[in-house]
Assembly symmetry: C3
Homo-oligomer: 258 residues x 3
């Protein structure tokens, strides 16, 4: 099974050509799209989505991730073999949150490429090609050379200082729900469902209820949830929190009882 994550969108031929290369080599490959709507060149968002999604896939899945502003320059194409999976993509941190969590066992610089390889479309010419060969059972050592290190992104996290927890905004989903880097475990140290909490985002202070689900909020109420990924989330019931509150990924957030 090969799972794809890119910022290529679905309106051009980019993703189709990647799939066609894979299926030309391994006609039996089951290809699953994670998403192709990562914001263009937003490596951090790509890494976050891959990190959340990979864990649900069957062991042995080959992930091909391409958010690649440095394509065609000296940035290296890599292949990471982890305890349960393979990750293929550019060495810019995109693979790192997922691969590090699962546990990297071997890292390779990919040397395999299509004979007609271009300088600007490694998604097709390098990554899809290498993934298809992996899928056919070709060992990583035939596709590249071992490397000692690769680029890592910092894992989103939060710190508690007394009754206050500090983190940052890390993701906004299609519904406008704002994910913070504050995890379920740390927030439960200071609050329970039903509590009112103060939320300071970039100096703007809100008071919100921590609820178990959207459905318990009033229509239009801004609330806090532990979302399905285990993060503290700011949501507006039936509305778009990111638009209504005017916040973006990267802003600092502090949560405390008040």
């Amino acid at each position: 099974m090969i799972a794809l994550l890119t910022d290529f969108g679905t309106r051009d031929y980019f993703v189709a050509e990647m799939k066609a290369v894979i299926l030309s080599i391994d006609r039996e490959a089951a290809i699953v799209d994670i998403t192709h709507e990562i914001p263009p060149q937003d490596v951090r968002t790509g890494a976050f989505v891959l990190w959340r999604a990979y864990r649900w896939f069957p062991r042995g899945t080959i992930f091909v991730a391409v958010v690649d502003p440095g394509v065609g320059t000296s940035r290296v194409p890599i292949l990471l073999r982890t305890r349960g999976y393979f990750f293929v993509g550019p060495d810019n941190g995109l693979l790192s949150l997922a691969a590090e969590e699962d546990g990297v066992e071997e890292a390779y610089r990919i040397t395999a490429q299509l004979p007609s390889a271009s300088s600007t479309f490694h998604g097709r010419d390098v990554f899809a090609f290498a993934a298809a060969l992996l899928s056919k059972g070709v060992a990583p050592s035939y596709l590249g050379v071992r490397i000692a290190d690769y680029v890592r992104l910092e894992k989103p996290g939060a710190v508690r200082e007394g009754g206050s927890i500090r983190g940052q905004l890390i993701y906004v989903d299609r519904f406008g729900n704002i994910f913070t880097s504050i995890g379920e475990k740390i927030i439960k140290e200071i609050a329970e469902f039903g509590d009112k909490l103060c939320v300071n985002i970039s100096g703007k202070i809100y008071r919100m209820r921590l609820l178990k689900s959207y459905g318990y909020a009033e229509a239009g109420e801004a609330i806090l949830l532990i979302n399905s990924e285990g993060f503290l989330e700011v949501a507006v019931n039936g509305g778009n929190a990111a638009e209504r509150l005017g916040h973006r990924v990267g802003e600092p957030v502090e949560v405390y009882r008040c």
Copy 2:
């Protein structure tokens, strides 16, 4: 075969996680996307699209539909076994137009869920999980308990009073074509292809030709068609009828000879 319909969009990891859960349980499952672009929380539009699409799928297809504003509250996850299919989703009417038409034979409240089930993502934790088990041949009685009733939406329809037919606007497609709830059979009682008809939408009156296809209209002409789903449709040749005429789903419509 498992067919998915949601309002999750394709830019996040939601759909991918549903597919990953399914494929982790049933690696052989063929997954087909109906659409993930139902307007957020628009249960009625979701029900309409599922109703139109289900009939074309092979018998035995398992439909997983998730447009679920009440997730995590007391609304119940259900499984409907119909004459030809299985329908899995929230008990808010979403499944009802399709399932009722095919003929419901058994209804279940789903009790199965992933061990780590969240309160906000039943698409993954309940519905995808139950569908995958169904797909592996697990009987519905192992996935939930029989229930006597479930939420039903009213089926779109129209009434004739003399030479006039009343209905409502029920759907706008990507091209801006406006579907009415007026069916082919009833419109043919009062008109033939080539006739001019008056169309009163929310008090605004248009005079349009009833044509067999877009291609017979003048460029930019607003026309009436019997569309491929068998509904009377308002279309603009080469244009967007919904934008140009300024109408929306839910408005009343009356058609009569004039």
Copy 3:
């Protein structure tokens, strides 16, 4: 394998119904989406994307392409058997760039259709149906009648006059990169990577570097590339060239040393 290209979008049930028809006839069919986001009724863009994508697919792939402003009129549904592939779609030029390049061996007017065929959705009722039967091994001669000719679009190209090359803008991708009809071979006759070139688009003159990849440009610099499809491309590093420079498909372009 069946590959789909349409302007139907993914928010309605159109594509799902096509897939359902295919899978109802050939449950083993592997269906790949090329794209469903061709701009509505833009036959030329559809033809371009199909032309670029088809070559990467395994031999024997059946392409179903539907961008079809003339549906339901006298325009004919066709099936082209080429040296390596099958192409199914409307006879409006959509298939021609790809099929002509691969080499057309037989052309058919399709007569097969679903018993309940509509006048407005040949994607489902004619093209998907014919493709599924082809996929099951039904010979083209059972699906239609031989025809001598079909509609052809002009292949994008460029002409050199001394040190100047003239062509046109033929495509804008998701990132805003502007493809010209000027190919790698002809541009290399007058320039090398690193050269500065003048680019005259509709009378607006730019001076840009011809670079090997986006990554070698300054942030925000407008540059020329040979893209992964072998065309000279105008790009802005980290930006959207089409928006920033304000150009569109169809405009004339001239490139010369200066």
